[in-house]
C-alpha cells in the first residue's frame, strides 16, 4: 500500500500503555507512524506551564515532532474506565500542545471518554480514521487487527519488561529478548506507566533494578477485580483510574507475593501526592508486617547516582528481611 503520510505520536503519557494499539491501527490504514526519541544528551525540556514532569515531556516531544509529521496523534483522554477518570491535566493536554506548537501541525485529538456512550477507544479511533479519509470498513478492520496485536502485547508484558532493555520495551520491531537468569527478589514497581517506563523520568531504574537481581512486577498483570477488592473499605471512592490502580495494586502486593515494593512518583503529581499520604498513613495504622516499601519522587533534576544508592540499600533491606524471617523464595511468575 502506498504511504499516505506521517503521523507523529509523542513518546509521553499514555503512549506507555496504548502505543501498540495506536501504531498498528495507523499503519493498517497506510500511514507511517513516527515516534519521538527520548531527550537529547543535555536533557533540554521545553514547557509552557509549570506542570508535572510527564506533561513537560509531552510538550517537548511534540515540539520535536512538529516539523517532521503531517499530523500529531494526541487523543483527549478524559476517561479510560467506565466509572473513573484520568487526571484533569489530560483534558487540556491537546490544547496545551496546540499552543506550544503554534498551530504548525494539525492535532488529532478525538475524545476518549468511556463513561459516555460513543466515546470508547474504538469509536474515537474510528473517528480519527474518518478524519484521515479512511472508509469506515477499513478503519474497523484496522482496529480489529490493532486490538488483537495489543492484547497479545499485553499478554507478553512481563516477559518483555524483564527480558528487554527498558528502552526497547515499546520498540515493537525489537526481537523478543533473551530469558534473563533467575532473579533473587520479586519487586513490584508501582506508579503511572508514564513514570515507570519512561527512561527520562525513571532514569532507567528498571534496568538497574534488574542488574541488582530483582524481577520486575507491575500492576499491569492485576485484574480490575483484584484492584477493586483492596479499595472497598475506603471511606470515599477514589475517582481517578490511575490512582485506583496505584492504591489497589499496592495494597494487593502488600498482602504477599513480593519481596518489596517501589512506588515511583514524579514531583508535582497531584494524584500521587494525595494518595501517597493515604498509603503511608494506612500502612502505619494497619500495623501489619508487610514487605518494605520505597517511595521515590523524581523530577528533571534527579540524578541517577542517588537513585542507585537508594536501590542498593533497598535490596539490602530485602535481604536482611529474608534472613530475619527465614523466608523461602517461592518460584512463580
Amino acid at each position: 500500500m502506498e504511504e499516505k503520510g506521517r503521523i507523529g505520536i509523542p513518546r509521553a503519557l499514555m503512549f506507555y500503555r496504548y502505543f501498540p494499539l495506536w501504531k498498528v491501527f495507523f499503519e493498517e490504514l497506510g500511514w507511517n507512524v513516527r515516534v519521538s526519541d527520548g531527550l537529547d544528551k543535555r536533557g533540554n525540556i521545553v514547557y509552557l506551564e509549570d506542570s508535572c514532569f510527564p506533561m513537560k515531556l509531552l510538550v517537548t516531544h511534540s515540539l520535536v515532532l512538529k516539523t517532521q509529521v503531517d499530523y500529531l496523534y494526541l487523543p483527549r483522554l478524559v476517561s479510560l474506565h467506565r466509572h473513573h477518570m484520568m487526571c484533569p491535566k489530560f483534558r487540556g493536554a491537546p490544547d496545551i500542545v496546540r499552543l506550544a506548537t503554534d498551530g504548525m501541525v494539525p492535532i488529532l485529538d478525538d475524545l476518549v471518554d468511556l463513561r459516555v456512550k460513543g466515546h470508547s477507544m474504538r469509536e474515537s479511533l474510528l473517528k480519527t480514521g474518518k478524519r484521515l479519509g479512511a472508509k469506515e470498513a477499513e478503519s474497523k478492520q484496522a482496529f480489529q487487527k490493532a486490538e488483537a496485536f495489543f492484547l497479545n502485547f499485553q499478554k507478553r508484558w512481563l516477559e518483555r519488561i524483564n527480558n528487554l532493555p527498558i528502552k526497547q520495551v515499546f520498540d515493537l520491531e525489537a526481537p523478543e529478548g533473551v530469558e534473563e537468569p533467575e532473579k533473587t527478589f520479586r519487586v513490584a514497581f508501582i506508579g503511572h506507566p508514564y513514570n515507570l517506563f519512561d527512561p527520562d523520568v525513571s532514569k532507567e531504574i528498571l534496568t538497574f533494578a534488574k542488574s541488582l537481581g530483582m524481577r520486575v512486577i507491575t500492576s499491569e498483570t492485576l485484574s480490575e477485580r483484584e484492584i477493586n477488592a483492596q479499595l472497598s473499605d475506603l471511606s470515599k471512592e477514589v475517582y481517578w483510574s490511575s490512582g485506583r490502580e496505584i492504591v489497589g495494586s499496592l495494597f494487593h502486593f502488600l498482602s504477599g507475593g513480593v519481596d518489596g515494593m517501589i512506588f515511583l512518583t514524579s514531583f508535582k503529581c497531584g494524584i500521587d501526592a494525595l494518595l501517597q499520604e493515604l498509603i503511608r498513613r494506612k500502612l502505619k495504622r494497619s500495623g501489619k508486617v508487610s514487605p518494605p516499601l520505597l517511595i521515590l519522587s523524581l523530577d528533571e533534576h534527579s540524578g541517577r547516582e542517588g537513585l542507585m544508592t537508594r536501590l542498593e540499600a533497598f535490596r539490602d533491606v530485602m535481604e536482611e528481611r529474608r534472613h530475619e524471617f527465614n523466608l523461602t523464595y517461592v518460584r512463580s511468575t
Binding site: 509552557l48 484533569p88 491535566k89 487540556g92 508535582k268 494506612k282
Partner: protein
C-alpha cells in the same frame, strides 16, 4: 456535640450564625495563622495543594480546642478537593484525634442524601427538636449574613482605591463585618448592615481618581481567602486598583444548586463559552472560568488580570499555561501568583507594586 468548620474568607461569620441560631454548640477554629499552616504542612505531603494544608490545620486546632464534629463541604471530581475528606480522615485518625465527619453534599443527589443520612444518624440523637425546628431560621439568617458580608466586601473593593488615608477602608470593613457578626436576629442584621454600609461610605475619599480595573481570577479558595493569598485584594486596592472577582460564596452555592438562571451563574456560562477558543473541554474546577473570565475582562476594557492558584493545583496549572497566550492575544497584562506555604508576603507585595507600576506606564503610553 461541638461542631466546627474550616475557615474560608468570611465563612465563619455565617456558619457561626447558623449554629448559634439553631442552638447547636460550635467552636470557630482560631484565625488562620502561621501556626495553622505549620500544623497542616507538618502532617501532609509537600505537593498536596495549599487549601488542603490550611483546612487540615484548622481542623487540628479546632479539635484540640474541644470540637468533635467536623462539617465540611464536599466536592466532586476531577479536582483533588473531592478526596480531601478521604485523606484528612486518615491523617486525623493517625494523629489520635477523635472526630465525627459530616459532609455537605456538593450536589443534591439521592446518593449524597443517603450518605448524609448515614452520617447524621448518630448525630440526630444528640439534637433536640428545638435544634431541628430552629434550623431553617438559622439557615435563613446565615444566608442573609453571607449576603451582607458580600455587600460590604464589594463596597470596600470600590472605596479602597479612592481612600485618602491608606488602610482606612480595611479598618472600617473589619469593624462593619464584626457588626454583622454580632447581629443575632434578622431585624438587627438589617440594621447592622445599614450601619456597616454607612461606616464604609464615611471613608474620606478622593473621587477624582481613576483607579485601574483589575480582575482576580483563579482557584476559588485562593481567590476568596485573604489568609491564603496574603491579602492580594487589599494590597491591590491600596495600590490604587479597583478589584473585581466573580468568586463569591453565593456564586458557588447557587451554582451547585443548579440555579443557573441567577445572574451570577449565567455570568459563569459566559466565561465558560469564552474559554472555548483555547480549551476544547471542561478541565474541571475553575480552570475554564479563569481563562474565560480573563478574555471577557479584556473585552470589557479592564487594565489587568491577577490569576491566583495554589502550588501544584491540577486544573489551574493548565489555565496558567493558556493564560500566558491569552494575555498576548488580547493585549492584557496577566500576573499569575502561585501560592504555597513559604513566607511570600513580601514577594507578593513587590510583584503587585511592579504590576501596578507597569499598568501606569501602559496607561501613560497609550
Amino acid at each position: 456535640m461541638k461542631v466546627t468548620f474550616p475557615h474560608l474568607g468570611t465563612m465563619h461569620i455565617f456558619c457561626k450564625a447558623i449554629a448559634e441560631a439553631s442552638g447547636i454548640p460550635y467552636i470557630v477554629p482560631p484565625e488562620t495563622s502561621r501556626k495553622t499552616l505549620t500544623l497542616g504542612v507538618q502532617h501532609s505531603n509537600e505537593c498536596i495543594c495549599l487549601p488542603f494544608k490550611i483546612i487540615l490545620g484548622n481542623f487540628i486546632e479546632a479539635l484540640r480546642m474541644g470540637a468533635d464534629t467536623i462539617v465540611m463541604v464536599g466536592s466532586g471530581p476531577p479536582c483533588r478537593l473531592g478526596l480531601y475528606d478521604l485523606v484528612q480522615k486518615v491523617i486525623l485518625e493517625d494523629m489520635g484525634l477523635h472526630y465525627r465527619w459530616l459532609t455537605i453534599p456538593p450536589r443534591l443527589t439521592w446518593q449524597a442524601l443517603w450518605k448524609n443520612y448515614e452520617e447524621t444518624k448518630e448525630l440526630k440523637k444528640e439534637l433536640s427538636w428545638k435544634n431541628i425546628l430552629l434550623f431553617p431560621y438559622g439557615l435563613r439568617l446565615g444566608w442573609k449574613k453571607m449576603m451582607a458580608c458580600e455587600t460590604l466586601e464589594k463596597l470596600a473593593m470600590r472605596i479602597r482605591p479612592r481612600e485618602i488615608q491608606k488602610g482606612e477602608t480595611q479598618r472600617r470593613l473589619k469593624k462593619a463585618l464584626s457588626m454583622v457578626d454580632e447581629a443575632k436576629t434578622l431585624r438587627t442584621l438589617d440594621q447592622a448592615l445599614e450601619r456597616g454600609k454607612r461606616l464604609l461610605q464615611g471613608t474620606e475619599q478622593d473621587v477624582s481618581r481613576v483607579p485601574f480595573k483589575i480582575a482576580m481570577v483563579g482557584e476559588l479558595y485562593t481567590v476568596m481567602d485573604p489568609h491564603i493569598n496574603r491579602g492580594v485584594e487589599q494590597k491591590l486596592g491600596e495600590l490604587g486598583a479597583e478589584v473585581t472577582r466573580s468568586s463569591w460564596f453565593s456564586t458557588h452555592i447557587l451554582r451547585s444548586l443548579r440555579r443557573n438562571k441567577a445572574d451570577q451563574a449565567s455570568e459563569r456560562v459566559r466565561f465558560f463559552e469564552a474559554s472555548r477558543a483555547y480549551l476544547g473541554y471542561d478541565v474541571g474546577a475553575e480552570c475554564n472560568v479563569s481563562i474565560g473570565e480573563a478574555i471577557v475582562r479584556a473585552q470589557e476594557g479592564f487594565d489587568g488580570v491577577v490569576h491566583l492558584m495554589p502550588f501544584a493545583c491540577m486544573p489551574e496549572t493548565t489555565a496558567s499555561g493558556i493564560l500566558t497566550r491569552v494575555g498576548k492575544d488580547w493585549n492584557i497584562p496577566i500576573l499569575t501568583l502561585i501560592l504555597d506555604e513559604q513566607e511570600i508576603e513580601g514577594r507578593i507585595q513587590t510583584l503587585l507594586e511592579a504590576f501596578v507600576e507597569m499598568l501606569q506606564w501602559k496607561r501613560k503610553a497609550g
